[in-house]
Symmetry: C2
Subunit: 226 residues, 2 copies
């Protein structure tokens, strides 16, 4: 990457730009998942060569980070403000959940985020609500950290599941059915729990479970209130 911040002189209307590249990257990522983002594919999509792309971005990692940041910012901006702290936290969490469900790649990209700057976009609003919730200063970071890890953890797992079903060309229902069957096969003595919940897998609602988890954490936080 070279692009200086200095004098833009040109004005070709078909100009390549960091924005157009990031937009194309997001398109590829949403269509084919993390594996879909390759320089050959990107070059084809933008009708150019890899060299031109490297003029605007340092490497693939930076591209992923930029794409991730764009989506996260767009997502969080859409979350309405003004509700009670718990409701706002739920809205923020669900917003991220939905975004990560729609774009599985965000999960892994956000976690490996080289720039903690994207993460701040999420940390700040969550943190503010935790403060508003009355969580004592001493444990604010721990509380935030728990919430954040939970949100990212769920996102990561959903992403993994989606990637799996996508890669194997099977539907979510078939996937769950397969796991359910495998778990029911387990030994009753050593794996009573897995067997007992196997059935629920087929019908469970990821989003509802996620919300339940957020509520569990909120519930726990409420006991911290001074």
């Amino acid at each position: 990457m070279h692009a200086r911040g200095s004098g833009r002189q040109r004005g070709r209307e078909d100009a390549l730009s960091r924005e157009r590249i990031v937009a194309a990257a997001i398109e590829l990522l949403n269509r084919d998942g993390e594996a879909g983002l390759t320089f050959p594919a990107l070059s084809r999509h933008l009708a150019t060569g890899p060299g031109a792309i490297y003029w605007h971005v340092a490497d693939k990692g930076e591209l992923l980070t930029a794409a991730c940041e764009a989506v996260v910012i767009r997502t969080l901006k859409a979350v309405p403000a003004g509700a009670t702290p718990p409701d706002t936290i739920r809205a923020l969490a669900l917003g991220m959940f939905d975004a990560m469900a729609a774009s599985a790649w965000i999960g892994s990209a956000l976690i490996r985020a080289e720039s903690s700057l994207t993460m701040v976009q999420l940390i700040e609003p969550l943190g503010q609500q935790i403060c508003a919730l009355g969580v004592p200063k001493k444990v604010r970071w721990a509380a935030l950290s728990a919430l954040l890890s939970y949100i990212l953890g769920v996102g990561g797992q959903n992403a993994a599941n989606q990637q799996y079903t996508h890669a194997h060309g099977i539907g979510r229902a078939d996937y769950l059915e397969k796991i359910c069957a495998a778990w029911k096969q387990l030994d009753a003595q050593t794996h009573p729990f897995a067997r007992s919940v196997a059935g629920e897998l087929r019908t469970h609602d990821d989003r509802a479970d996620f919300l339940a988890g957020v509520n569990l954490i909120l519930q726990g936080m409420s006991t911290l209130r001074r």
Copy 2:
């Protein structure tokens, strides 16, 4: 991969075997992280060619899954049983935390785990304790799911941090210092929270925070008790 399950006939003492390959993979992973596991490196390590390795394992993914499973099983076996449910859950969680801290690659490997079988190793004992905790049947899965996602989420983030510091050749302290400095640079109007917790970053204890998060979830679960 071809290796049939049928007739082992040979007995060459220098024989390659799935076990030896997985052990070598774990060694490479622990030494150089996820990027350290390559077939050239593995071949060198085992003094053979890639073709021989492919006779025993299907592909890199299977190798990663197998390595992950081996470490997870070893880790969970070391967790003492017999304590109260909350204590056992804490012990299981901390066991995984420590394992993921020592072997950052487990985090990402476990999440992308193609085989839900490895995951069961973790789900089963956690689930049993949740039952013992008296969590109503209706919400057992949700409770487990929350705990699991949290554990994996923290592991994933720690892995990302370690990978970052390792890749950039800087220490954990320098890394935190850098983030702290960046956060203090933020606008006080828009990012009051990030600024206010920035200082804590430098001195916080990941393990303690993790435990606090587990306790938060346990706390929340206790309110579910019928």
